[in-house]
Each structure stands twice: as structure tokens, then as C-alpha cells.
């Protein structure tokens, strides 16, 4: 067991957890934030993606100890004072979410992408989201959502991590 400190969605938390516990399980079980999903448990699908110190990581591959001292942003930290973040609004309006299971990871991947490229090209969007699998949309509505978010006066500093 290890004592770890995590800043989760802006809140400092101290936890005593097994060192090798997956960050995914820390988030879902210890912090009870179930917006982060498990799709494959092997880092392929990106359903468990979160921002850790601003980097997009698959939380199923991160041991708790490695997250010690980190600032982590999950889907619950994306909305602003209960209002949808522009990225969330664009996913909602443009059909970017169908079954919704990949959506939390996809939205965080989009935030990461737009932080890096505020006006991404089509290829940058394709590449930027390639670690997040979606079986419903064929990605076209998601690309459209991302493009709309990039146009929507996107402010890169709005993500809290």
C-alpha cells in the first residue's frame, strides 16, 4: 500500500491504495468518479483516457504510484460550473456521442488535441483521436464535433488539468 496525493479535477486528495492499483480503478472505486470507462484493460481503446499533468493517458495502464503528485482531469472535471464545455456542447449538437461509452475518453482526447493544435487539420484530428476507439459513429460525427469546437472560440486553458 502507498500513500499517494492526487489533484483530481482541481481538488487535492490523499489516498492509501495498493501501489500497483490501476489509476482507472483508483478513479472509479476510491474516488467514485464513474465517468471514466473501462473498454479493454490493455491500453487499446482509450475509453479510460484521462489527462494527467495535461498529457492524455490510458488510466488502465497507469499504476497508482505513478500518479502520485499528479494533476488528473477526468470527464467530471470538464464542464464549467455545471455548464457544458464547448467541446461537450459540440459533441452533443453534432452527433459526436452515440452509445456514449467512448465519449468521456474521446472528449478528453479532443481537449488534448485542441490544446496542442487550436486549429487542427483533418489529419491532425485523425491522428489525435486514433488512440480512442469508437464502434458507433465511424468517427465522422466526432470529426465534425471537433471541427466545430475548434471554431467555437475554444480556450485551451479551460481544461483544469
Amino acid at each position: 500500500m502507498s500513500d499517494i496525493r492526487i489533484t483530481i479535477n482541481g481538488q487535492a486528495r490523499s489516498l492509501n491504495v495498493p501501489s500497483m492499483k490501476r489509476l482507472l480503478d483508483v478513479i472509479r472505486e476510491d474516488l467514485q468518479l464513474t465517468g471514466t470507462k473501462e473498454g479493454c484493460g490493455e491500453g487499446e481503446c482509450g475509453a479510460c483516457a484521462v489527462l494527467m499533468n495535461g498529457e492524455l493517458v490510458n488510466s488502465c495502464l497507469v499504476p497508482a504510484l505513478q500518479a502520485n503528485g499528479a494533476s488528473v482531469c477526468t470527464i467530471e472535471g470538464v464542464a464549467i460550473d455545471g455548464r457544458l464545455h464547448p467541446v461537450q456542447q459540440c459533441f452533443l449538437e453534432n452527433g459526436g456521442a452515440q452509445c456514449g461509452i467512448c465519449t468521456p475518453g474521446m472528449i478528453l482526447a479532443t481537449q488534448h488535441l485542441l490544446n496542442k493544435y487550436p486549429r487542427p487539420t483533418y489529419e491532425q484530428i485523425q491522428e489525435g483521436l486514433a488512440g480512442n476507439l469508437c464502434r458507433c459513429t465511424g468517427y465522422m460525427r466526432i470529426f465534425e464535433s471537433v471541427c466545430k469546437a475548434a471554431e467555437a472560440d475554444y480556450l485551451p486553458d479551460r481544461g483544469k488539468a
Binding site: 473498454g39 456542447q89 452533443l92 452509445c99 458507433c136 459513429t137 465522422m140
Partner: protein
């Protein structure tokens, strides 16, 4: 409110806000007080008798609940169409990963060691693993390899179901066929095959079950909630497993993270298992599969083999044809007979066949049962047909376009099942528009020129097809679907249906239909969570039936509700939302409640003969032309789709954003089916049951997908809509392989078509072309048996 302002617009997805916020609760996000966790001990062999089950000394078994077949209080069966499928294997296993024993424990982590601590001794029996091996056992009278005996519900040794479908009276058709083949200018034969495909919903199968008992320890009622498409299918399964009446088996659908057919029949298995564990341990029990278990043990798309023999005149008219369609059903019948049925009826495609015979069968093999997956048999038989049509064109010397134009069905013609097409059908127009949208003709010329000087060969191809909406034949009448619309005291209508949302947009479109019919804002309409204690049985959420069939019921129920309010609560014919609320409030105060219920009635009479397998197969068809552009890199042997155009006529488009999403998602799955997704099998076991080595398309793998609609309103659906969900799965694979033939001159007849398959074929050409021309010779075709000029 202006006419048609809601249907045809794109309001926000009903549950969309919860989904983008991460607030939507899927089954694994839920926990019940005192909940335990369940796991499944599965067979490690494909086929054999269970000799003995032993438990390791290293596990403290007193902490665990253990369930075997002998604990099943009712019938040890998972009912689908027949009762051959055990809930838990008792004496014999018939496929790898077959459930034998269930374990539950309060700590999920304690299950891993425990499942490994259960040892099962088998007396192994020989298995069959392909359609051919299963057929051979029957032909050779190899009783050791007769793995399925037939059942009282039909079927014969190793064969779950057979159909024999004639385009007219059997005797006349046989005579016509004999003459057609005698007089044909060409007889074209071909064999085509498709592999298994994993649904790969991103949320694995999962459920939570509860069970109550009386003072004598008898089960009084069970409740299962979880990820699923068809709550009433699970109710039905539970009634048998527990020997309980329907009203004592409650099922609640939770938010469902993708399904695609993969959560049609399988929740009956995992739901029954969790309920048995809940019975045994006296606590709620959650079972969620991890990815490896879900991929190895649950259903996939049926592999298929189709043989075509076609008589054709020198001017390209189809004179007659025979189609032999076979699918691999896996170890138990499950839904194979109905998958086979849809595949059989779609096998003739959108063409006029003067004489046609389709012989179809679903064979048993020792692999986990194959099941429902978007398209339900049609993608298999249409892949074969649309590859074969390109072959026929080539033999006759026509373009693929011209050959099809000479044989398309049109308004007033009869389909191969004898169904008159009374609703307008214009495949000629669809083909013209689709090819134009894609720039097909220009590319055809340009690529032919450019390919001469490039090792990247580019090409274009297309497929023309249709998909029937709703249950086949008399299916909808048998389902007898029911919906309720109620208005609460606050004056807001609430829809009560068992149709489930799993991404396709059920919640949204049904609320649109109600808003339209009630002349109320979309935001005023709500839809109940599917809970069988509350919602009636409006049929399963499958078969492209929700928009058209259930939508029509919602529309009728809403209109009936308006009439009630007009007759008894002075609602004016043109009302405002305020007037509606007032009238509804008045009615509820007066009568206690306000509810309108309607049952299915065919919009037009539908005649179907199950014996002859002829008649009106579907209330309505969606029609489509899909065009693919590909690039085949002869250095890497990678084939890539570089642009895709999907044109369809699906009646009135109810919600353009959702409709495009449905088509794009289906096309993406179709591209995966054709070029990426391969299930690797060994003795009935899937070897690549991981996302790491079963490759579905990522955002970087897909081309721009352009979606186009022709809108011809249909009488069968609300506001003129037809079904759309499955259609987009049918066209991509044949269009892509047709394009690859156009690009390379080489005809491929099997999917998935991976770089190693391309490599194998091209390497063999290079060997044979040694010292000769480097040009690929398209006429050499080792996959097909014969190609005869009569």
C-alpha cells in the same frame, strides 16, 4: 406549429447531455447494497463429456457461492427458438468457453484464483469446426462427428435449419431453370465466403441480478438490470430457468454502451447466470466480462459460404440462377434459423430473376454459438451476390453498371419471394446519382491511366442492394407489439416502450414522433427507462424495426390520445402546449389517469406463407448504392479505402444527424469487415480475443464517408420513415472488393481480405509471370471453381 417541423430536424439526443458529461450510468457504474461479484468457469475443450469437477485445496470455498447445472430450479436451458442450449453444461460441453460452473464472492479480486482452482476432467470427443467438416460428417455418416442431433423444433443432424426458396411454384421453377441453363449464352459460377466478425461494442456484456425467496427458500421473483437490447427476451429466458411466471421476472435496461446485435440474445445467458448466483448467495450479484472473456465466449457474426450458378444471355439478362447459402451457426441453434432466413431472402438482391432457387442451411460446429450482428445474414449473402454480379458482367463483357441496369427490380415487379413492389423503387436513379456523387466514371478512366505508372493501384467499385425493415414475414404479427403513451399530472407525455437506446437514437426519434403527432415541443416529451414492470412488450430492438414499426405505434398511440382529449377534455383541433397541458390535467383529474395504448396492425395487408417460404417478406425495403474508392499498395500489400459514398433511400429521414451517424458507423463496420477484422480460430477457440490483435478501424484508418439520401416517404413508418440501422452493413464489403478488382485486375472472393492474403495471391502471380509480363492477369482466378462459357 408548422407541419413537419420536428420530424426531419435534428434535435439534441435525449440522453446526450448525460453522456457528454460522463454522468450516464452504465451497469458497471452501478452498485447495490451488499452486492457480490460473479465469474464463470468455462470449458477448456471444444467437445467432450464432463467426467469430474474437483476443487483446489488452496481456496477457502466456504466463502464462495457455487452454482452448477443441478442448482437450476427450472429448466436448464437458454431459450431462443429451441431449447437445445443449456444454461450451464451438465454432462457434456459442445464448444470452448462453454459455461459449466458459476462462482460469486463479495470481493471481485477473489474470483480470479477461484476460477483457476476449479478443475474439470473431460473425456474428449472429436469436433467439427467448419461448415465443410460439419457437412462431411453428415455425408460420410460419421456418427462420432454428428455434434447436434436435430431437435423437436426442427433441424436434422448437424443442421439447425434448411430453407428451399423458389421464385415461383417449385415444379415450374425447376423446369424453367433447366431450360434457362440449357439455353444460356453463359453460365457463370462462383463461390464466396465471409468470416466471423466481432461486434466489439466498447462496453462489454454486464448485468446485476437480485433474487428473492420465500420462507421455504423457494425463489419468488428475480430482477436483472444490465446492458441489453431486448428486455423481454431476458424475461422469457428467466421464466424457464426459474420456473416463474413472467410478472415475477423483472428486467431493467441500463444505459448500454453499444450492442449491434451482440446484446440481442447473449444477455439471456449472462442474465440467467447472475440471477442463479443471486439465488445461491442471497445477495445482489454483478457479472461484467472483461474484454478477453467477452470476445472469446460471446456471439459473433456467422461465417458463410455462398455458391452461385447463373444462366445469363449474351445481352446480359439474368435467365435463371441457383444460390447455395450456408452459414456456420456454432454449437447451438440460438438465432441461426432466423439469421439464415434473412440471409436467404436477401440473397437474390435487387434484381429480377425469372427463375431462382435458393437452398440455404445453418450448420452446427463446435465453436461458441454465432448470433445477431447488424445485417443478420444479409451482409453475407449480399457480399456473395454483389461480387458475383461483377463477375457475371465481366464474363458477358458488360460494365458492372450496365449489367445491373439490365436486371434491376423496379416499381410493380415482384421480388424473388413473390412480393409485389407496390411502393416506388428506382434503382436506376439511385445508381446514376451515387456514381455521379462519387465521380465514378471520371475516376474509372483516370485510375486506369495512372495505374500503368504506379505501384499503388487505385480503383473504384460499387454495390447495389436493399434491406428489409422489420421482422421477416409473419414475424411482426406474431410479436404483436404494444406501446403506451401516458400523460402525467404535470401534462407531460411519457412514452412507455421496451425499445432500447444503445446509441442508435431510439429515445430521440420516438420522442420526435410523439412531439410531431401531439403538436408539442420535442422537449416536452419524455421516454421511460425500459423496465418490464413499467413498459409493455413492444418487441425486441432489432431488425431495423424501431423507427418504422415501433415509431408507427407511437404515432398511432399519440393520435388516439389527442382524439381522447378532443372528445372528452375540449382540446381544440389546433392546440398550444398550454391548452394541451390544461386539457390533460382536466382529464387526469376527472379519470385518475390518461393513457393511450395501441397494438401492431399492418399498415397494408401482408401475406406470408411460412411453408412455401413465399410472400411479402418485409413491410418495406430500404434501397441503396454504395461506392468505394481504394488504393492497393503493391509494396506493402495494404488495401485502403480512400473515399466512400453511401446513397440510400430510407423513406423520410427522421433526424438527419442521427441518420448520417447510423450510416457512417455501419460503413465503418463494413470496412472493418472487408479489410481489417479477422477472427483467428483454433479448434473452435478464438485466438485473437483482444483489441490488440483483433483490429477494428481507428479514426486514422477510415476515409471520408459521404452520406446521401433520397427521400421517398413510405406508408409503413411514422411520417414516411423506413428502417435504416442494418442497411449500411450490407454494401461496403462487396463495393470494396469490386474496387480492388478494378484496381488490380485480380478478383478476390473472401473476406476479411488482409495484406497477407493479398501478398499470397500477388506473390503467386509474380512467380507465374516470371520472365513474362508484369501485368496482373485477372482471368486467372484460383478461388472460384469454374467459369464456363456455354
Amino acid at each position: 406549429m408548422p407541419e413537419n417541423s420536428i420530424l426531419g430536424s435534428s434535435p439534441l439526443r435525449k440522453e446526450g447531455r448525460a453522456k457528454v458529461l460522463g454522468e450516464a450510468k452504465y451497469v458497471d457504474d452501478l452498485s447495490l447494497p451488499g452486492m457480490w461479484f460473479g465469474a464463470t468457469v468455462r470449458s477448456t475443450i471444444a467437445r467432450g463429456k464432463i467426467r469430474k469437477i474437483t476443487f483446489s485445496q488452496d481456496v477457502n470455498w466456504s466463502e464462495y457461492a457455487i452454482v452448477t447445472a443441478s442448482d437450476v430450479p427450472g429448466e436448464n436451458t437458454i431459450v431462443h427458438l429451441t431449447r437445445d442450449h443449456p444454461c450451464l453444461a451438465a454432462e457434456q460441453v459442445n464448444h470452448p468457453e462453454e459455461p459449466i460452473l458459476l462462482l460469486a464472492h463479495p470481493d471481485k479480486k477473489a474470483l480470479l484464483a477461484a476460477t483457476a482452482g476449479v478443475h474439470i476432467d473431460y473425456e474428449e470427443l472429436p469436433g467439427v469446426f467448419t461448415i465443410e467438416e460439419s457437412e462431411a460428417a453428415v455425408e460420410n455418416g460419421d456418427t462420432e462427428r454428428i455434434i447436434w442431433p436435430g431437435s423437436d423444433a426442427g433441424g436434422t443432424a448437424n443442421c439447425f435449419k434448411q430453407y428451399l426458396m423458389y421464385s415461383a411454384d417449385a415444379k415450374d421453377t425447376e423446369q424453367g431453370l433447366a431450360l434457362a441453363f440449357e439455353n444460356a449464352d453463359y453460365i457463370v459460377q462462383g463461390e464466396y465466403s465471409t468470416g466471423a466478425q466481432e461486434q466489439l461494442y466498447i462496453e462489454n456484456n454486464g448485468v446485476i441480478a437480485e433474487c428473492n425467496k420465500d420462507a421455504d427458500g423457494r425463489v419468488t421473483d428475480v430482477c436483472v438490470r444490465g446492458s441489453m437490447q431486448c428486455p423481454y427476451y431476458l424475461v422469457h429466458a428467466l421464466t424457464l430457468v426459474f420456473g416463474l411466471p413472467e410478472e415475477k421476472c423483472r428486467v431493467i435496461q441500463t444505459e448500454t454502451g453499444g450492442a449491434f446485435g451482440g446484446k440481442e440474445d447473449f444477455p439471456s445467458v449472462i442474465g440467467s447466470h447472475a440471477a442463479l448466483l443471486a439465488m445461491k448467495c442471497g445477495h445482489p450479484v454483478k457479472i461484467t466480462y472483461d474484454r478477453a472473456e467477452d470476445m472469446a465466449a460471446t456471439t459473433k457474426r456467422h461465417p458463410s459460404r455462398t455458391r452461385h450458378r447463373t444462366a445469363v444471355s449474351k445481352d446480359g439478362k439474368l435467365l435463371g440462377g441457383t444460390i447455395e447459402f450456408a452459414i456456420d451457426g456454432g454449437a447451438y441453434a440460438t438465432l441461426s434459423p432466423v439469421v439464415l432466413s434473412r440471409g436467404t431472402i436477401h440473397a437474390p438482391g435487387p434484381y429480377k430473376w425469372p427463375y431462382l432457387r435458393v437452398r440455404a442451411k445453418a450448420m452446427a460446429t463446435n465453436v461458441p454459438p454465432h448470433g445477431a450482428f447488424r445485417g443478420f445474414g444479409a451482409p453475407q449473402s449480399l457480399f456473395a451476390l454483389e461480387r458475383h454480379m461483377d463477375k457475371v458482367a465481366k464474363v458477358v463483357g458488360l460494365t458492372p453498371e450496365e449489367l445491373r441496369r439490365r436486371n434491376f427490380l423496379s416499381t410493380g415487379d415482384c421480388t424473388a419471394t413473390g412480393q409485389p413492389l407496390n411502393d416506388p423503387v428506382d434503382m436506376q436513379k439511385l445508381l446514376t446519382r451515387a456514381l455521379e456523387e462519387h465521380g465514378y466514371h471520371e475516376k474509372l478512366k483516370r485510375f486506369a491511366e495512372e495505374n500503368k505508372h504506379s505501384s499503388i493501384k487505385r480503383g473504384v467499385g460499387f454495390a447495389t442492394f436493399m434491406h428489409g425493415a422489420g421482422f421477416t414475414g409473419s414475424g411482426e404479427r406474431r410479436l404483436n407489439s404494444l406501446v403506451h403513451v401516458e400523460v402525467n399530472a404535470d401534462g407531460r407525455p411519457n412514452l412507455l416502450v421496451s425499445s432500447t437506446e444503445f446509441g442508435q437514437g431510439t429515445n430521440t426519434i420516438l420522442c420526435q414522433v410523439a412531439a410531431q403527432a401531439l403538436s408539442l415541443p420535442y422537449e416536452n416529451i419524455s421516454i421511460a427507462q425500459p423496465d418490464t414492470r413499467v413498459v409493455p412488450n413492444s418487441g425486441p430492438t432489432v431488425a431495423s424495426r424501431t423507427a418504422m414499426i415501433v415509431g408507427k405505434l407511437v404515432e398511432r398511440a399519440c393520435k388516439k390520445l389527442l382524439t381522447t382529449l378532443q372528445d372528452y377534455a375540449s382540446l381544440p383541433p389546433q392546440h398550444t402546449p398550454g391548452e394541451f397541458r390544461k386539457a390533460a390535467g382536466f382529464y387526469v383529474a376527472e379519470h385518475g389517469s390518461l393513457r393511450s395504448s395501441v397494438r401492431y396492425e399492418p399498415v397494408k395487408p401482408i401475406f406470408w406463407d411460412d411453408e412455401l417460404y413465399r410472400g411479402d417478406a418485409y413491410p418495406a425495403y430500404a434501397w441503396a448504392v454504395y461506392v468505394a474508392e481504394v488504393a492497393v499498395d503493391l509494396n506493402t500489400y495494404m488495401a485502403t479505402v480512400t473515399r466512400f459514398d453511401a446513397l440510400q433511400e430510407v423513406g423520410k429521414v427522421m433526424h438527419p444527424v442521427l441518420a448520417k451517424g447510423q450510416v457512417e458507423g455501419g460503413v465503418a463496420q463494413g470496412i472493418g469487415y472487408a479489410l481489417y477484422e479477422k477472427c483467428v480460430w483454433k479448434n473452435g477457440r478464438m485466438l485473437n480475443n483482444q483489441m490488440t490483435n483483433y483490429i477494428m478501424p481507428t479514426s486514422a484508418d477510415l476515409p471520408p464517408i459521404h452520406v446521401h439520401f433520397e427521400e421517398v416517404p413510405s406508408a409503413h413508418g411514422p411520417g414516411g420513415a423506413k428502417g435504416i440501422g442494418e442497411l449500411p452493413m450490407d454494401g461496403p464489403a462487396p463495393a470494396i472488393l469490386n474496387a480492388i478488382e478494378n484496381a488490380t485486375g485480380v478478383a478476390f472472393h473472401s473476406i476479411p481480405l488482409l495484406p497477407e492474403d493479398l501478398f499470397e495471391r500477388f506473390a503467386s502471380f509474380t512467380e507465374r509471370a516470371h520472365g513474362g509480363s508484369e501485368e496482373l492477369d485477372g482471368s486467372i482466378d484460383r478461388d472460384t471453381r469454374t467459369e464456363v462459357d456455354a
